[in-house]
Structures are given as C-alpha cells and as structure tokens.
C-alpha cells in the first residue's frame, strides 16, 4: 500500500468516493427517469462554463457551476414549456454551450493550460481545493435528495399521476436537472466533460437489473461505482493509460458482462421451469 503515501493518490481515492456519491444518487434518477441525453447535453454545455473560467481568470470549476445550472434550466424550460421538443433542445444547447467555451478560450490571451484535463479528465491531478468544492456539492445533492426523495421517486415513475396527486412536478423536475448540473461539475475533473455521461449512467443501468427498489439502487450504484472506478484507476496506472477513459472502459466491460450474466441466469431459469 505504499502508493497511498502520495498525496495525489489519496486525493484520487477521496475524489472517487465523492464522485460516486453524486453518481449513485443522480445517476439512479437519470436512468430511471430516462433523462440520460438531457444529462449528456448539460455536461457538454458545461464546457462553456469552463471557457468562461479561463476568460475571467477564475477556477473553471467555479464558473462551470452557475453555467451548467443555467443550461440545465434552459434545456428543461425549452423541453417543457415550448413546442421545440426535448431532443432538439438538448442538441441546441449542447452545441451553443460548447461553442461559447471555444470562443471564450479563443478570447483568452495565451494558451489554455490543462484544457485536456477538463475534456477527458485526470483524476490524478485533482487539487485539494477541488475536493472541497466536490464535498460541498455532494452535501447539497444528498440533502436535497433526503428532503425530496418521495417526490423524485414519484416524478421519475409517473409524472402525469404525480401532477394529479399534487406533486409540484415542474419545480422538482428543475431541481433534478439542477442536481444533474452539480454532479456534472463534480465529475468533470475525474472523467472529463466528454465522459461524464458514462459515470452517471453505467453504474445505475447495471444495478437496476438486480433490484426493484430505488433506495437499494442508489446504494448499489454508489458501491459498484467506487469499486469499478478504483479498479479502472489501478489498471490505468499499471498499463499507463489515460485514467478517465480507462475507468469508463472498465465500467463498460463490467456492464456488458453483467447484462450477459443476467441474460444467462434468466435463460437457465426459463429452461428449468419449462422442463
């Protein structure tokens, strides 16, 4: 365990846990409410916030927070309140957000250091200050979820009935998109903007095959996420590969294997019961 003597490894381990707390919770609702592509749109549009950070000379993570929340609300508003349609809203804001990012970086004198780490992530370069931001965002997500768990479950399952039952559906929908935005910010440093969607969706999609309870799904996704992120990190260290991409590949492979295992299990069960 000598690798733990390095601060960057310790930070990476802490980041792994923080990231998966957010992913376990938000990813569960993203997957069950089927807003994966909205989340993808928010994460790419967050690049505008990163660019703004460079332009203003601030920590890009800080500027990404309001920027991605506004984008999330923008997508939600267009999707819910206009006739443009959700998928078109996602496409439009996705592209606008990224374009703004590019223009901001263009306007910034000099070159943009670490730009790659925002696009593809680098869990090994996370400074302590970013960990603090991640802790704060995690706390916000956890508190909101504890307060509105019943409502998030209801609107994820059946929005129409929830509305009739008196759930403030629109407010909660925007709150959920806001939480997606926050988790995108938490994830950017670890896997990068382009790969955020994988960590949000893969653990929850994988685990939902094995439970019929949202609460269990949240904790299962967190645990599986932590284990596989550490696994991916370890493999990237041994094989000297990009950490973000390796983590996603590990998640992807385990997802495929677990789906196959579930399929085999069901087939065997069917075969046995037919005999």
């Amino acid at each position: 365990m000598e690798i733990f003597q390095y601060e960057f490894i310790r930070n990476a381990m802490i980041a792994t846990i923080l990231v998966n707390i957010a992913c376990g919770i938000v990813g569960t609702f993203v997957v069950t409410k089927r807003i994966v592509f909205i989340s993808g749109g928010i994460s790419h549009a967050a690049f505008g916030g990163i660019g703004l950070g460079y332009f203003l000379g601030l920590d890009p993570i800080i500027t990404a927070i309001p920027f991605s929340i506004l984008t999330a609300f923008g997508i939600g508003f267009i999707a819910k309140k206009t006739k443009v349609g959700e998928d078109a809203a996602i496409g439009i804001l996705w592209a606008i957000g990224m374009s703004l990012g590019i223009i901001f970086i263009n306007l910034t004198p000099g070159y943009a250091p670490d730009l790659f780490s925002y696009l593809f992530g680098n869990i090994l370069t996370i400074p302590f200050s970013d960990l603090i931001i991640m802790v704060v965002l995690d706390i916000i997500i956890v508190v909101i979820t504890i307060l509105f768990y019943k409502e998030f479950k209801a609107i994820s399952f059946d929005e129409e009935f929830s509305k009739v039952a008196g759930v403030p559906v629109d407010i909660l929908y925007f709150l959920l998109l806001g939480m997606v935005a926050l988790s995108v910010v938490i994830l950017i440093k670890v896997v990068g903007i382009i790969l955020v969607i994988a960590l949000l969706t893969i653990p929850a999609s994988m685990c939902r095959q094995f439970t019929n309870n949202i609460k269990t799904l949240i904790f299962l996704s967190m645990s599986v996420g932590i284990i596989l992120t550490i696994g991916g990190l370890w493999i990237s260290y041994i094989l000297d590969l990009a950490s973000g991409a390796t983590i996603i590949i590990v998640l992807g492979i385990v997802f495929l294997l677990s789906s196959f295992a579930k399929y085999l299990f069901l087939s065997i069960k069917k075969y046995k019961s037919s005999k």
């Binding site: 069950t32 399952f157 129409e160 009935f161 009739v164 008196g166 439970t211």
Partner: protein
C-alpha cells in the same frame, strides 16, 4: 359562478345531492381544433356516471381537464367548490394510458402509496401505509404488494392503478376506460366493486361497454365534441345515435353497441 377561489377543501361532509364537479361553458381546443365545445356538466356526490361517445369525441380530454392535466381554452371548472388544483385532492384518477415504464424498479406497494401523496418533505405516515393496504385489499391484490410492477399481467396492473386511485380515499373516482385491460370473467366483479364504492364516492367512468351501463350505472353522458346528452340512462338511447353520428345498435340487454356499420352482410 364567478371567480373560483383556491379555498381549502378539507372536512367536506358527504351529502349525496351535493354538486361536486361543475363545468361552465367549457371549451378546449388543441392547436385551434375544437375538441370540446360548450360543455356544461355537473356531477353529484352519489353519481355513477358513464361517459360514452366515439373515439376522438373528447372523453379523455374532459377527464384530463377535471384533474388539471389540461387547461381549458375557455370556461370554468369547479371541483368540490374550489379550483381544480385544490379540489383534485379528493379525486382518484385512473388514466387511460399509463405513461410509466414497466421496467421501473418499484414495487406494487410503492406505486399505490403514491396515491396518498399530500405534501413535500414529510414522509408517508402509518395511516398512509394502512390506507394503502386497504386499497390493495379492496381490489384483491394485497398478496402482490411486494412484486415488481414489471412482473404483473395487464389485468393485475390495472388493479394496481385502481388501488392507487383509491388509496387517497377519494370522494370522486375518475376512471378512463377502466375495463380495457380486464378480462371478461373479471368484468362482473369489477362492476360490483364499483357499485360498492359508489356508496361512499361518486364514480365517473369512460366506457365503450354499453352493456354494463344498462345494469350498473345511474347516469349517462354522451360526448362527441359537444355534450349530447346527460341524464338518466333510460333517456339516453335515442341520443346515442345522434352522438355517434351513425346507426347504433344499443340495447339494454347486454349486447355491445356497434360504432361502425356492418361490413359485407
């Protein structure tokens, strides 16, 4: 009727003749195409009302307006003497098509308890749990309460959704084609359940099953963009043909009506 205030609707006493839903000059247009025109209808506390009419006649739209899923283009809807948003707390609603995902990881019990929703943040109480159990028992699926909804048959799922509508102990039950997923053997017991429930709540349901109307319901409304008839079932027969705009074979003896003319006979 004037302006409708968001007044609280708690402690409503059961009074069988009380008007609980009233629409006044109600119009609804979808993309400028009128779906409902000039609907004036009232439902009383002891009503057992069947809404019939051709497909596209606006039946589902009317129910959606009453529960506030759609907003009227013109006119007023009063529910339990209050606005739709307040009054619908006393309504149990069964949609025609459910929008949810059958793969959603949720148990039957957790679906039904959503019918008990009152306000944010507070958790479901012991009473909510008890009423949920009661509702499951009423529709005869208590033993399925821990099943995942994806493992149910169409008929069982329909009963879960009826239990969800019943869980809030409504004073009005709105059912949009409740019999579409119920097999014929179950129909009779389903209608008997409705008759039993009608002792403590008004029931309004959309149906194509005119046979059932003759036996169980008290009133009929014929809807085809306009309200062609609303009154006792005995007076409805002649009006049906007018609403459907085609020859209808309708009888009070359990023979289903025909909406289309006969082919090649």
């Amino acid at each position: 009727m004037g302006n409708i205030k968001n007044k609280k609707i708690q402690n409503i006493k059961y009074n069988k003749d009380k008007i609980i839903v009233r629409t006044k000059d109600l119009f609804f247009c979808y993309n400028d195409i009128p779906v409902l025109e000039d609907i004036n209808i009232s439902v009383r506390q002891n009503d057992f009302l069947a809404i019939i009419g051709p497909n596209g006649g606006g039946k589902t739209t009317l129910l959606k307006l009453i529960v506030g899923l759609l907003k009227p283009s013109e006119g007023i809807i009063e529910v339990f003497g209050s606005s739709v948003e307040m009054g619908r707390r006393l309504i149990g609603y069964l949609p025609q098509h459910s929008t949810f995902d059958l793969e959603f990881p949720i148990s039957v019990f957790d679906v039904v308890i959503m019918g008990r929703y009152k306000r944010a943040i507070v958790r479901y109480s012991k009473k909510d749990i008890k009423e949920t159990i009661n509702a499951l028992d009423t529709v005869g699926i208590l033993k399925l309460k821990d099943r995942n909804i994806g493992e149910l048959s169409g008929g069982q799922l329909q009963r879960v959704l009826i239990a969800r509508a019943l869980a809030r102990n409504p004073k009005l039950l709105l059912l949009d084609e409740p019999t579409s997923n119920i097999d014929t053997e179950m129909l009779q017991s389903f209608y008997e359940l409705l008759v039993k429930l009608n002792k403590r709540m008004a029931i309004v349901f959309i149906t194509h099953d005119v046979g059932a109307i003759s036996i169980y319901v008290k009133n009929v409304a014929c809807l085809n963009r306009k309200l062609f008839y609303h009154g006792s079932k005995e007076g409805s027969l002649g009006k049906l043909a007018e609403a459907y705009k085609c020859p209808v074979e309708i009888l009070a003896h359990g023979i289903p009506h025909r909406v289309l003319g006969r082919h090649g006979k």
